[in-house]
Symmetry: D2
């Protein structure tokens, strides 16, 4: 089973990447996990697509998504919505041939320094996946507020209630990915 992870932050000490890595560490050995890199995409402009065409870096991620049984998004929240980096990654991949999010199992999680843990950006990300026909897992919600207090200096999760949620999330994620296998 293959799961591909897409993180909406490329900060050196990204809390979302810490959370994502925590989930990856909880996956069983038979799951092959790889990250998809979206920070080397140009800003989306249809004129690029219509002219030079889909960039190779975009096609590479599209291929990763197509080959995966499930996509796992980790999204920050900026101004109650997702970061432009993540929207840019999705918009580009969505324009590739036989767009690969269609019918794909997927799940989302998020962490913030604030009190709402990406409740709003997750709603927007879900909206975005409707026209792309992504099949988003619902439970358990993973919205980690005050995340800066829940990881140590090495990025290790130290908050037990959050760990309990992530364990349930990892378990459900594997079942969700399996449900999508042809």
């Amino acid at each position: 089973m293959k799961i591909v992870g897409i993180c909406g932050s490329v900060r050196a000490k990204s809390l979302n990447m810490m959370a994502l890595k925590t989930v990856v560490g909880l996956l069983p050995a038979e799951v092959s996990f790889e990250y998809a890199r979206i920070d080397d995409f140009p800003m989306y402009n249809q004129d690029i697509q219509d002219g030079p065409g889909i960039p190779a870096v975009v096609q590479r991620v599209a291929d990763q998504v197509r080959a995966a049984d499930c996509v796992l998004f980790a999204t920050p929240e900026y101004n109650w919505s997702l970061p432009p980096l993540l929207k840019n990654g999705i918009d580009w991949v969505a324009r590739t041939k036989d767009q690969p999010f269609a019918g794909k199992q997927m799940a989302l999680m998020g962490a913030t320094v604030g009190t709402f843990g990406t409740a709003r950006s997750q709603l927007h990300l879900r909206d975005i996946m409707i026209p792309l026909d992504g099949r988003m897992m619902n439970r358990p919600p993973v919205m980690i507020p005050q995340a800066q207090n829940k990881f140590d200096a090495d990025g290790k999760l130290t908050d037990q209630p959050t760990m309990d949620v992530l364990k349930m999330f990892a378990t459900n994620l594997v079942a969700w990915a399996a449900a999508g296998k042809k």
Copy 2:
């Protein structure tokens, strides 16, 4: 009176820019209108802000917004949400000192080749402006579907019903901008 316009598309033949220019052409002579350029911003990453700091190109737009009585957004819709270009512009400007969208009068419009005329991306843009305390005009909604059939080769609006809506929009926009003047 000053109004600053921000377009979410930099395509050479952007339908949203055509619609925006049409509205600008309907504004009375006493309104000073200028465009804010957001396509030379780097992709938002808080590490840039925390390291090198706010880019000069971002600060320039922040100053334009602060000096304006009203901001006018023209937004495409990609996958039921706003383009990464526009989200990136907003997220950057929102991080400048005394963030300039706070308490600012603003309005939005959009055009698409599809049938819903940016109904969904406008909802997301409105959501985004809540935490930033933007004061978004409600009426009339400007959601131009099948826009590719409503402008001629020179970008001139040829659809009379759309022109009627844009005239009302321009009138209300001036009143809305005036209501925000100190």
Copy 3:
């Protein structure tokens, strides 16, 4: 295979009921379809639940939903959201024991006299089903604008493009319901 239909309007000449009946007429013979009645529910108030308990009329619908392989919602749009009648039906059923929307395959459609065909109320209905873990079908979207011009006096659909969409919808609905069968 069993599908249960819930209509958000009880108007005598409800366009949504006409659209719903059209879909029902397109279902293959092996599908058993029944309507769930929600217009005899009291207005939701948790004090009713905590006192007299779940009304029998609510439990009846909860049982219908649980027994079904799929739920089909037809929703009008009032003020960019769903009608209180439909929200009330959902909120009540959601409070029954082993809430029956959890893990349930479902789909939604809508018709309006306006131009956006319930694009916004469908977004809200999808949001509502996230915490309830409903599994909402994505394609094709069925948002019927100007519906008053698309049905004849007997409630028969006369618009061929809409009929084509509804046929695809009915086909996908059966496959979606089948995917949820244990």
Copy 4:
């Protein structure tokens, strides 16, 4: 100055009513505050409007709203959206002649037993007020999580951080209402 309050819950021990009353207690003496009662409205059905007409209980609230400088909503959150009671109240009032929410200053607040304090139902309530042209205050957000632990047996607010937010909210509310005075 007149402010009218509409509460989305009629529970005997409604946390939202407790929160609303707390705000009312913080308003200066020159503000006249009254509650609008929406729990005696029939479930919205356009056939009622087209037949017997707008119920007198609805017209009474429409008149209250029209006479007010500002409307204050207190909304619970059921399944990530507003309660049917509140949607029903709004939908009915919105159908009265010269619908009175148009151009009206308004604000919203909410309390929940859960962790997100009505973050999602407030988004939906804001969406609903866009087509009605309500002018919703943005700051400060009042989303009271774990509200059951923040009021005593008499409904008195005992949580100081929440009280601080409500004081700022009451101050801003008066200024917001004043800004809308003709």
